[in-house]
């Protein structure tokens, strides 16, 4: 077994790190985090270097690389700054659905725009804020003269108000069929008539991303906008979620690493009671715990990504990678806030937004309870 990155992987990681370090500037960045203004320029610069579509096929202007390379880039971005990382990475959230489930006519329409850092995607899956189970989707898409007519409401859509297109999980079969059956993923242009949007409200973290709720009222799209196989929307949605969980896990990993590095550097500089903080055994042990906690998450994320690229990442592996990485981000950023004392609470010292972003990542793409349900299903099958 080899535990070394390939040379191109190392190069990507290094290049992304350098990009992030040079472009994510503390003062501007804190201002963005505070105001939630989107760093459109930085995204375009990232896109020019190919960082907005590392894992898209080349035919859509992507890098043609794997999820592993995406993971390495995501980790570096979030390590440099979690909020900036989330801002750049989540802008394309959901666009994978346009190429993962087979050729689709909408892919050339949107993906190059995403790859260029100009377009954003809105994944419109959830309808119930408190329940992340997708099988309860009720938004309907009914065939009518070669079109699909969509009616329903979605909540908590990332890039909700700024997206150029949406990936909407719809019920394409009769309502009485029962939950989860006959769903389909449908690409919907943001300019289509009948979409009404309003902000889902400000968020705790991920503050560069706008979340919105949407109502679809007789929204018409061409039939061929169905992504993947009609009626297989739930399976596709869950498959996408596996990929999204590995992506989120990578962001969490970077968030943990970034918080750890800030804390380590703080305790090396800061004096108290006549000694540097890092000389106190209790502080040292906290650093060691943080280090070991990150170590315990990192390989799981990498191995899930590697398995995904080989086509073999099962649901529980992706879920476990995210569960561990998100928990590690929470614990490590929590400890970082603690280690910085009063400064940990201050925006200026950054770790406070790492902590808020960690919580956001923990709940996005599946809170712990949903991940545990998925893992348990992998172990014992579904319960009755």
């Amino acid at each position: 077994m080899e535990f070394a990155l390939t040379k191109p992987q190392k190069e990507i990681r290094k290049a992304v790190r350098e990009f992030a370090r040079s472009k994510f500037e503390n003062e501007t960045l804190l201002e963005l985090v505070r105001t939630g203004q989107y760093p459109a320029d930085t995204r375009e610069e990232a896109a020019e270097l190919g960082y907005c579509a590392i894992h898209f096929p080349e035919e859509f202007e992507g890098g043609g690389l794997g999820l592993m390379e995406y993971v390495l880039a995501a980790e570096e971005m979030c390590r440099t700054d979690s909020s900036m990382g989330l801002g750049l990475l989540l802008a394309s959230f959901g666009s994978e659905c346009l190429f993962r489930f087979g050729k689709n006519s909408t892919a050339p329409q949107y993906l190059p725009g995403v790859a260029a850092g100009k377009m954003r995607c809105g994944a419109a899956f959830f309808e119930n804020r408190g329940d992340s189970d997708l099988s309860g989707v009720k938004t309907s898409a009914v065939q009518e003269n070669g079109s699909l007519v969509i009616n329903g409401a979605k909540t908590c859509i990332a890039n909700g108000q700024t997206a150029d297109f949406y990936v909407v999980l719809c019920k394409t079969g009769p309502e009485q069929e029962g939950p989860g059956k006959n769903l389909s993923l449908v690409a919907v242009d943001a300019h289509a008539d009948g979409i009404c949007l309003w902000p889902s409200g400000p968020t705790l973290g991920g503050s560069l991303i706008d979340f919105a709720d949407a109502a679809f009222e007789n929204v018409r799209v061409p039939e061929q906008n169905i992504l993947g196989r009609p009626g297989k929307g739930l399976a596709h949605g869950l498959d996408f979620l596996d990929e999204a969980r590995i992506q989120t896990a990578a962001m969490a990993l970077g968030t943990a690493q970034g918080a750890f590095e800030r804390a380590a550097s703080y305790v090396r500089q800061r004096k108290q009671f006549g000694r540097k903080l890092f000389e106190f055994q209790v502080i040292r042990h906290k650093l060691a715990d943080m280090y070991a906690r990150i170590d315990s998450a990192r390989w799981g994320v990498y191995s899930a990504a590697a398995a995904f690229d080989k086509g073999g990442c099962d649901r529980r592996t992706a879920a476990a990678a995210k569960l561990n990485a998100a928990a590690s981000a929470m614990e490590v950023s929590d400890e970082a806030v603690q280690l910085l004392g009063g400064y940990g609470y201050m925006a200026e010292y950054e770790v406070e937004h790492f902590y808020r972003d960690a919580k956001t990542l923990e709940l996005f793409t599946g809170p712990p309870q949903a991940l545990k349900d998925a893992i348990a299903e992998g172990i014992t099958g579904k319960p009755r």
């Binding site: 804020r129 408190g130 705790l204 108290q272 009063g342």
Partner: protein, 360 residues
């Protein structure tokens, strides 16, 4: 068995304060949070109704209430789910220094306005480079021509912008033993050389005006020393028990509040099959586990409140309570947000403000 014996007067006070807060304060909290400060009118309204400094003796304008009134006021304030009206800091931490250590003249001058809310107080101990290490403090005070000249930078000062009166800790540069060098001083708004820095941008506590304070050759009258010269350290130690206890009181109330919000949410929110989330076994166990921990904290705290009220020396136990209960509040905030699912990272999720505020 009730550890704390609240009388009907206590209960009436609690009821009256709750009603007042709900009607007069809660509707404006969103504004306070946005403005990153709680306006002075809110303090005065609180004072006018007798909810500030309940412990101050009647001869100085207070109601001379026992410690349970302080606990009630602090709990009811915590239940408003915001921290800007830091009345417990004012009433139970800062003002007691004046009442305990002030001269008759100082008490006469300041206490009535503290009770009425016309004076908002702050305490300035922490320095940017010393943190919680009081002995490492570098701010100095010198006596010159019957005046005291202060030079110090203080940070993380709650009520820093609003404060009309600040208790400042500083060292006599001439005394080498750090434990004998610290004195406390009363610095009024407008004292020459006293400047407020920026309001600090924070993770939470948005309705509270935390600030840096600068004293640059700041001159105050010699009679503004609070307590004996060099006795600062001892005074701070003497008040530690109540300070820690009040921190624990606030954190406990906050944990209870978050659990209530979360329990309500889980009961009211249904999954796609129409089943309330609270009936999902994992959620219901989580609620039970949290409520067990919270009850443990409550019992431990109530006993300490009773002991503190009875004048017992329980400084070790209050440290334990502060450590354990603030951690409890943090854990509770982390676990409660999970039960909200994706909704748990939206600001209008009712435990999110607590998630940010408990980290202070």
């Amino acid at each position: 068995m009730q550890i704390l014996n609240y009388t009907s007067q206590h209960r009436e006070f609690r009821h009256r304060m709750r009603e007042f807060l709900e009607k007069e304060i809660v509707p404006y909290i969103g504004q306070f949070e946005e403005q990153h400060i709680t306006p002075k009118w809110a303090w005065r309204a609180l004072g006018k109704e007798g909810f500030l400094c309940t412990a101050v003796r009647p001869e100085y304008g207070g109601m001379g209430g026992d410690f349970l009134y302080s606990v009630i006021a602090s709990e009811e304030m915590a239940k408003t789910n915001h921290t800007g009206l830091a009345s417990s800091l004012h009433s139970d931490i800062v003002v007691p220094y004046i009442e305990a250590f002030g001269t008759e003249a100082q008490k006469k001058k300041y206490l009535p306005s503290c009770v009425s809310g016309d004076i908002i107080t702050a305490i300035a101990m922490t320095e940017p480079d010393a943190g919680s290490d009081l002995a490492g403090m570098t701010g100095t005070a010198e006596e010159k021509n019957g005046e005291i000249v202060l030079n110090a930078s203080k940070t993380f000062i709650s009520n820093g912008i609003n404060a009309d009166l600040v208790i400042v800790a500083a060292k006599d540069a001439g005394v080498s033993d750090p434990y004998k060098a610290v004195s406390l001083f009363l610095v009024e708004d407008g004292a020459p050389g006293f400047k407020r820095g920026r309001k600090l941008e924070k993770m939470g506590f948005h309705s509270q005006d935390t600030a840096e304070l600068f004293f640059t050759n700041c001159r105050i009258p010699a009679e503004n020393r609070l307590g004996e010269k060099g006795a600062g350290f001892g005074m701070l130690m003497e008040k530690l028990q109540q300070e820690r206890l009040m921190t624990a009181v606030g954190a406990q109330a906050s944990a209870e509040l978050m659990l209530d919000y979360t329990t309500d949410f889980c009961k009211q929110t249904k999954d796609h099959a129409g089943k309330p989330i609270s009936k999902h076994q994992a959620a219901s166990f989580a609620l039970v586990e949290m409520s067990t921990e919270i009850k443990l904290g409550r019992t431990f705290l109530d006993k300490l409140i009773a002991e503190h009220a009875a004048g017992e020396h329980v400084v070790v136990e209050t440290s334990m309570a502060k450590y354990w209960i603030t951690d409890l509040a943090k854990r509770t905030s982390q676990r409660c947000t999970q039960l909200f699912g994706e909704y748990g990272f939206f600001e209008d999720c009712p435990v999110v403000r607590g998630f940010r505020d408990v980290r202070v």
